[in-house]
């Protein structure tokens, strides 16, 4: 394709449409736009030549590459665009200009970042995802959402600032800003970029912005949020840090620890947020493997395929919980149950999403996760492999069983509501269709996992891999069936912990409770310490200073107008220090 249209980064189109939607009062026209734009963007993307810089500009001494497509960015971009389309359908019943516009611009920013060929434009869109997405949380309108969104924004901006600092360093040392892999994690620039990406990917201890904010977002907002931010970070890792050993271990830890939080968490949307964390762990782990050896292609394919499938099925799960939230006003497991009676179709789609994320054969998770697992095993990381296998059972627990069981089955809450609106069902149906379509073998022409494998960055290696071998299906079934059996058994024995309302502490406690307390405490101390120090000084030097102060302070206001007296002491102390230092160093 040639012409000016071929130079248009689909993300830019979406951002522009998002801005237009922001000011478009006609509801159906606006929603029509938000549905049509991702479709147009997908067509644009499909027609774009790969491994060519479609649009580049040289300005301010930097080579900006605004639009570049290759195998890796293609699959991520496609997944983002599909998610944007499904989200737009899912939001059809709402009438909210701000949310429509920001959701579109947010998706657009993620796509634009994916197709950016230089780090400066990546940074700009990186920040744009943060700024646009925060409205999806704010729109929930609750006080908790307000605070969570402010924390979210602060952390996301911090990530952007770190990224910028890293970019500045890279530019200084390399003199070139094109997005390329870092060879070593030793240089400070690489570390800064690594941490910036790590925040967005929700690495362990940097993760809780995600669990803090996503469950507090609007019904539509949580669905939109689940698709982009973390996966953009995964893409950036695949681009810039493939094959760094650190990622293998970080990823493995990331798959394991959210499992435990998800078990005791009561809010099902928060459970999904933990599950998101765990799934991103698989991708990060795979990226860590992808540098050398045979594992390279397998691992990067695994990460990309997993990201693609994950965006769809995690979106589907968030959609089903969104539908529950929409109709019942809650997603707390302790208040739900028996909803299949009122929302059978939502139940069906939720179960399809649950089976996909648990990687049942014939569902998309199986086709994607197998690549990663094989790569880890192939490279000989036995412990990591065992951790991932453990986490797979964990996924089954919190996403595969807990979500559908406690929302739709289990103890009947007596809630009798309407089935989800048709547009929600349609969006869920489409997502469920994709989950199945890329999970099955190629029985139906044009569908099947091979369609997905064909789009992966290392196409030939992917096509040579067959997930449906007898032993593979058997072992996967053993894992899943026995795990379900464990559930059935524990439930029967009454050993399964009951769902109780409550807040589960996570590391965000550090800044939400301890940090806050520390600030208050430090503030008090600081206010007291200055005068206190002064008073110590008084005792040492007698009352002379007192008298001077009395003389010089009209109505005693001198003391109130800042720590003037304490400052005089500081002056003396500092002078002493400088003198001492000067004498010591020169003698």
């Amino acid at each position: 394709m040639t012409g000016p249209l071929s130079m248009l980064n689909p993300g830019w189109l979406m951002i522009a449409v998002g801005l237009v939607a922001l000011f478009l009062p006609m509801r159906r026209v606006r929603q029509g736009l938000t549905i049509a734009t991702p479709i147009i963007a997908i067509i644009l993307l499909a027609l774009a030549d790969q491994n060519v810089n479609h649009l580049g500009v040289q300005a301010l001494g930097i080579d900006f590459i605004f639009y570049r497509v290759d195998g890796l960015s293609f699959i991520f971009g496609l997944a983002f665009l599909l998610a944007a389309l499904l989200n737009a359908i899912y939001a059809w019943h709402t009438d909210d200009r701000l949310q429509d516009g920001m959701a579109m611009a947010y998706a657009g920013a993620a796509v634009a970042a994916t197709f950016s060929g230089d780090m400066m434009s990546l940074f700009v869109f990186w920040e744009l995802t943060a700024i646009t997405s925060v409205f999806l949380i704010l729109r929930a309108g609750t006080r908790a959402a307000y605070f969570a969104s402010m924390r979210y924004l602060a952390i996301q901006i911090l990530s952007g600032v770190l990224l910028l600092a890293g970019i500045a360093y890279v530019y200084h040392s390399r003199g070139d800003l094109s997005v390329q892999a870092f060879t070593s994690l030793k240089e400070p620039g690489a570390i800064l970029v690594f941490i910036a990406l790590g925040i967005k990917a929700a690495f362990p201890f940097l993760h809780n912005w995600l669990q803090d904010s996503y469950p507090k977002a609007t019904v539509v907002g949580a669905v939109v949020l689940s698709a982009f931010t973390t996966k953009l970070a995964v893409y950036a890792f695949a681009r810039m840090f493939p094959g760094h050993d650190a990622l293998i271990w970080i990823g493995a830890v990331m798959t394991v620890f959210p499992v435990f939080f998800a078990v005791i968490e009561n809010d099902l949307r928060k459970v999904l947020a933990y599950s998101l964390n765990n799934q991103v762990g698989f991708m990060i782990c795979a990226i860590g493997l992808g540098a050398t050896g045979v594992g390279n292609a397998l691992a990067l394919n695994g990460a990309s395929a997993h990201a693609f499938c994950h965006i769809i099925y995690k979106g589907l799960l968030f959609m089903s919980m969104g539908a529950v939230m929409y109709r019942t006003g809650t997603t707390k497991a302790s208040e739900l149950g028996g909803l299949y009676k009122s929302m059978p179709w939502t139940t069906v789609f939720c179960i399809i999403g649950a089976m996909s994320i648990s990687a049942f054969p014939l569902f998309s998770g199986f086709a994607a996760k197998s690549l990663t697992m094989s790569a880890v095993g192939h490279e000989g990381y036995t412990i990591v492999w065992l951790m991932l296998l453990f986490a797979s059972a964990g996924v089954l627990e919190h996403s595969g069983i807990k979500i559908p069981y406690f929302a739709f089955f289990g103890h009947d809450s007596g809630k009798r509501v309407k089935e989800a609106p048709f547009n929600m069902l349609l969006a869920m149906g489409l997502a469920a269709f994709i989950c199945v379509a890329v999970g099955i073998p190629a029985i139906v022409p044009g569908l099947g996992y091979e369609w997905l494998y064909n789009l992966l960055p290392y196409r030939e290696e992917a096509m040579a891999y067959n997930p449906f071998t007898l032993d593979h299906v058997l072992t996967q079934m053993q894992l899943l069936v026995l795990a379900i059996f464990a559930f059935v058994m524990l439930k029967r024995l009454g050993w399964y912990p009951p769902e109780k309302p409550g807040v589960v502490l996570d590391t965000d406690w550090v800044y939400r409770k301890a940090g806050y307390g520390l600030f208050t405490w430090a503030g008090t101390i600081w206010q007291k310490a200055g005068p206190a120090m002064t008073s110590v000084f008084f005792k040492l030097t007698g009352r002379a200073y007192d008298r001077i102060e009395d003389t010089f302070s009209p109505r005693g206001e001198l003391a109130r107008g800042g720590l003037g007296s304490a400052m005089a002491i500081w002056t003396a102390i500092l002078l002493g220090l400088v003198l001492l230092l000067a004498f010591i160093t020169s003698s």
Binding site: V161, P554, W570, T571, L574, V578, L579
Partner: protein
């Protein structure tokens, strides 16, 4: 451009630019005290500051054209060690340009706020005091004599105390703030003069260049070291170096808007200039005791200022106090740049000095506009102003983004330069702290911006009411300068680099 100016200027201006720059405002000041009409005093002040700007530009041109990069002017034709000499190189040419340019903009801006805040009988006296202060600051920047520097420092300081105290008409707390400032400023000046005394005892001269030439032969001299300590602390206090800054927040928040705006952009900068002059021209970074105090005193203090005062800024409820604490934090950046001890570090510090003057100038101008039209400076008072005063607040927002260090603004460029200088020394942990401090700036400016643009006005009477055009024009000049110099850094960065080279005694002219 400089060539045109040098060719067009009359001969007397070229010959006597250094002395005219200072003496014009200084001699006009007592005349103003006799003028009955405030408006005439204002116009005369604009004329005086504009004339100084003109001479500053001439000096800059002469310095850049000079083969040695120095313009010397012997007062009364008394030759150097005996007489007082005005000595201009790239470093003080830059400072003079900054002070006089800000002076012009501030004076233009001043009229509406002075009318609103100062007693009508005192208008002319107010401008008289301002011109004295202005002349004093220029004098500090231009003189080549250590004792003369003290004199000018006191001239500017004493008039500043008066100016701050005049804020009492609006807020009585200006009086204790001015008094506090007087005490601290006097301590600082006394320390400085004690330090100069020590140096005089060791070298027998007061001329800065002369002292500098004698010091290397005096290694290990105790009185030189004592003089160093006193001068660093004295000037550090004047420059609001943490923790010697506590005079500043009060002085800035209670003085008249115009004074705050002018002082924030010039006073600490000039003191910092004097500090740099002593640290790099008189003493040298090669001296062991100076190297040690860079590493163990100045750098920790700079970093502490960045972090601690940014935190304090976060917790303020008054916009002017927030900005004042932010100023101390920004001085921390400059001190950090200076304490690296390399040319790159010093030029980063000076570059930030220039940019910060533009940023804070614009911010305080916008605040002045708000004080004028809405009579309030708490963050709550700013709620919803984005709708009722869009031009004022957009100018504010641009400067605020620049303060945070958003790309494409001047503030970003100076942090970038500072980052490069730190990386060069391998101090990437310090870069992390700079980044963290910028992050705090996002919070404290973000709070204000959020109130301005996203909250509903608390006061229904806040209908559309912009600041007067006399405020808007200089405000937008500075705001646009923030953007222009954020994209095209050639001019200010060139100035800062030349200045840093000059401070090191190198002749790195283009």
């Amino acid at each position: 451009m400089m060539d045109i100016l040098l060719n067009a200027a009359p001969r007397w201006a070229l010959l006597h630019a250094p002395v005219l720059l200072v003496m014009m405002p200084l001699f006009l000041a007592p005349v103003l005290a006799l003028v009955p009409n405030g408006r005439i005093a204002w116009l005369v002040s604009i004329f005086a500051t504009a004339a100084s700007l003109f001479f500053a530009l001439i000096l800059l041109g002469q310095v850049q054209a000079s083969p040695v990069g120095v313009v010397s002017y012997d007062i009364g034709n008394w030759p150097m060690p005996i007489g007082i000499v005005f000595r201009v190189d790239a470093l003080n040419a830059m400072i003079l340009l900054l002070v006089s340019a800000v002076g012009v903009l501030a004076t233009i801006f001043s009229w509406p706020t002075v009318v609103a805040e100062i007693n009508k009988q005192k208008h002319a006296l107010f401008y008289s005091a301002f011109l004295v202060c202005f002349a004093g600051l220029c004098g500090v920047a231009i003189t080549g004599d250590a004792f003369n520097l003290f004199v000018f420092l006191e001239i500017s300081s004493i008039s500043t105390y008066v100016l701050v105290a005049l804020g009492a008409g609006r807020d009585r707390r200006a009086l204790p703030a001015a008094f506090n400032y007087l005490i601290m400023g006097t301590i600082g000046a006394s320390f400085y003069i004690i330090g100069v005394g020590f140096l005089y005892a060791a070298t027998g001269t007061l001329n800065i260049a002369d002292i500098a030439s004698q010091l290397p032969s005096l290694a290990g001299n105790r009185s030189v070291e004592a003089g160093f300590a006193f001068i660093v602390i004295g000037l550090g206090l004047k420059a609001a170096m943490w923790p010697l800054h506590s005079w500043l927040p009060n002085a800035y928040s209670y003085s008249p808007s115009f004074v705050t705006m002018f002082l924030s952009a010039t006073a600490t900068k000039v003191a910092l200039y004097a500090l740099i002059r002593f640290l790099f021209t008189v003493f040298r970074p090669e001296f062991a005791f100076e190297q040690a105090s860079f590493t163990f005193i100045l750098m920790p203090l700079g970093l502490a200022a960045m972090i601690s005062c940014s935190f304090q800024a976060v917790f303020q409820t008054d916009v002017r106090r927030t900005l004042a604490y932010s100023s101390v934090a920004q001085v921390g950046y400059m001190i950090l740049g200076v304490s690296i001890g390399s040319i790159a570090g010093l030029s980063a510090g000076l570059f930030h000095l220039l940019n910060h003057a533009m940023i804070k100038g614009a911010l305080f101008m916008a605040v002045g506009g708000v004080v004028l039209t809405y009579q309030g400076t708490t963050i709550r008072d700013f709620a919803g102003l984005g709708r009722s005063a869009p031009w004022t607040m957009t100018g504010f927002a641009i400067a605020a983004l620049s303060l945070i260090g958003v790309p494409l603004t001047a503030g970003f460029q100076s942090k970038l330069q500072l980052g490069y200088a730190l990386f060069e020394q391998g101090m990437w942990w310090a870069v992390a702290l700079v980044v963290f401090s910028s992050f705090l700036a996002v919070i404290y400016m973000g709070r204000i911006l959020e109130a301005i643009f996203f909250q509903a006005p608390i006061n229904p009477r806040k209908f559309r009411k912009e600041a007067p055009i006399l405020i808007l024009v200089p405000l937008w000049v500075l705001a646009l300068a923030n953007i222009y110099f954020g994209i095209n850094t050639e001019f200010p960065l060139g100035l800062a680099r030349d200045a840093a080279a000059a401070a090191f005694g190198l002749e790195a002219f283009r």
